[in-house]
Amino acid sequence: MGIIFSVKKLAKYFPVGGKTLKAVDCLTFEIYEREVYGVVGESGSGKSTLGRCMLNLVEPTAGEVIFGDEIMPMSELARKSPARMKSLRRDMQVVFQNPNSSFNPKMTIGRALYNAASFFGLKGGGRDRIHELLDYVNLDRSVLSRYSNALSGGEMQRLAIVRALIPSPRFVMADEPVSALDVSVQAQILNILGEMKNRFGLTMMFISHELTVVEHICDRIMVMYLGAMMELGPVEELFGNPLHPYTRALLDSRPKTSPDEKKTREMLEGEIPGAVDIPAGCRFFSRCPDAVRECGEIPPELYKVTDFHFVACHLVRDTVGNN
């Protein structure tokens, strides 16, 4: 398995009234080719900022993101070789959360799509490609002459997928792509997203706060809290054997799927604090039900549980042994 994205000690800080908001703080991970990499966390966990840094839509404060076979980090590339950066862009596309506002309201859908196609230099203005993709997402060609406000959320999200697929990217990032949609529409979009990975040989990163959705579609999942990684592992392992107290709490707080389901709930108290004054020890310390003194003082490292399963928790180190 090749590595398509390699993120090293990535950090993004924002100044907030004289203080620093650490939206993403020293994250290191890799995304393998042809996998669906899930990023889960509550709002304020920094998952969207991470996504924007990875696509170089915002410049990271520190650390680097390296895409594909490129050697240079993207932020450096954008400065030194904008042309090379532009050609990288076609390989990584994104689908945003709010489908209706991610298209220019003053442009017909057709124009937005054809603009993108000609920007990427597709043959014949990209007509065949766009028609093929519209067929793929099961949309009639008549949508091309309409404006975004005349279409439903489901239709718009399918068009966002079409737009992302126009340049035949290798990587598609989906930032909460189904959160704004109704249940039945959500299923349609999830099916398309799940299927297109195989059909087009894509790698995907899937950012979401909904665990059930992530579980349905992802191969590996990273759980984030206050800009840092809490746990990382393959879906089966993460959902079957969650080790970090935060992961466990997240799983516990999912609503039941059926009223007959028995549940011993471990309710998490409080809410995610602001990422301004991050405590010295573990970020989850203030809400952790199992915290011991050490947790408040020393930030835990990432401990390896199995080859693919990592946890940032002192308590886990004690149970699995130090690696």
Partner: protein, 322 residues
């Protein structure tokens, strides 16, 4: 027709609203009963009329909405015989409501303590007593420590805390019915779990009924006793939550439940519902779901299916037999 145990009974309610495209028949003759002490879910996708139904009970209408028929009985009294003034007196003291976005529902210029006390003094509670009761209420909904939290402004509080404050305001006069319109949609999962837990505890402690408006079947499974599934302005299925989850009879209910991702759906295609909901600007003659329904036959398009009951606690509107 209504039983003594029903706190609120809605009969053949019809509501229309004016949109830029014309008159929309948003609620098309629904029947709904909320019993004392139960949590009743109203679940459906956006535009199905669930929020309009909730607003009808409070008669919280803006100038573009109107009731066009039906009855709402509250403890046996016909709400439509009440004047605007009498309804006003009912709001807050008998029926109260919480909304999706607590941030916009509170006035940013006043402390939450002031706003909470004001709802109390508005209903005739003395100032001194109101202050004490406000502290007690905040404690009840888990805003801790209440004394210092009281003097905070809405922008100083998190979304979950604000929703707790909204709940405190809503229950301040011991209403018999609390209408919760997507109360956890803007909150994180861990906070959602806290709020749902709080609502359940309040129901148990105060023997209050809750009408839970939501699009999330998970929330229905989690806290509701009974549920009504809405589609295109009508109720397609209604009854005990367990029965409906075990044995959904209306094709829409079962299609919708099947389309939700859960453990075990990984790697499979989710069931989807073809087509889109009908245009509510037009008359619907037969079953509203017929154009999307896999079992639809000729009769479905002709007349609206009569509601049938399969047990005392489970009814649905579909011509398809058992």
């Amino acid at each position: 027709m209504t039983s003594a145990n029903d706190l609120i009974s809605i009969r053949n309610l019809q509501v229309s609203l004016m949109s830029a495209r014309g008159l929309v028949h948003a609620v098309r003759g629904i029947d709904l009963d909320v019993q004392r002490g139960e949590i009743h879910g109203v679940v459906g996708e956006s535009g199905c009329g669930k929020t309009v139904t909730a607003k009808s009970i409070m008669r919280l209408y803006d100038e573009n909405i109107m009731l066009s028929g039906g009855h709402i009985f509250f403890e046996g009294y016909d709400m439509f015989s009440l004047s605007e003034r009498e309804i006003q007196a009912l709001r807050g003291s008998e029926v109260s409501m919480i909304f999706q976005d607590p941030m916009t529902a509170l006035n940013p210029l006043y402390t939450i303590g002031y706003q909470l006390e004001e709802t109390l003094t508005n209903k005739g509670v003395k100032k001194m007593e109101a202050a004490a009761r406000a502290v007690k209420l905040l404690e009840d909904v888990g805003v801790n420590p209440p004394e210092s939290r009281k003097s905070q402004y809405p922008f100083e509080m998190s979304g979950g805390m604000l929703q707790r404050v909204m709940i405190a305001m809503a229950i301040s006069c011991n209403p018999k019915l609390l209408i919760a319109d997507e109360p956890t949609t803007s909150l994180d999962v861990t906070v959602q779990a806290q709020i749902l837990d709080l609502l359940t505890r309040l129901r148990d402690g105060r023997y209050m009924s809750i009408l839970m408006i939501t699009h999330n079947f998970g929330i229905v499974a989690e806290i509701c006793d009974r549920v009504s599934v809405m589609y295109a302005g009508g109720i397609v299925e209604s009854g005990d939550v367990r029965e409906i989850f075990r044995d959904p009879r209306h094709p829409y209910t079962s299609d919708l439940i099947k389309s939700i991702p859960r453990s075990g759906t990984r790697g499979t295609l989710l069931a989807t519902i073809p087509g889109t909901p009908p245009d509510l600007l037009r008359e619907i003659n037969g079953c509203a779901y017929a154009p999307r329904c896999r079992y639809a036959s000729g009769v479905c398009a002709e007349a609206p299916p009569p509601p049938r009951s399969i047990s005392e606690s489970h009814s649905y509107a579909c011509v398809r037999g058992t």
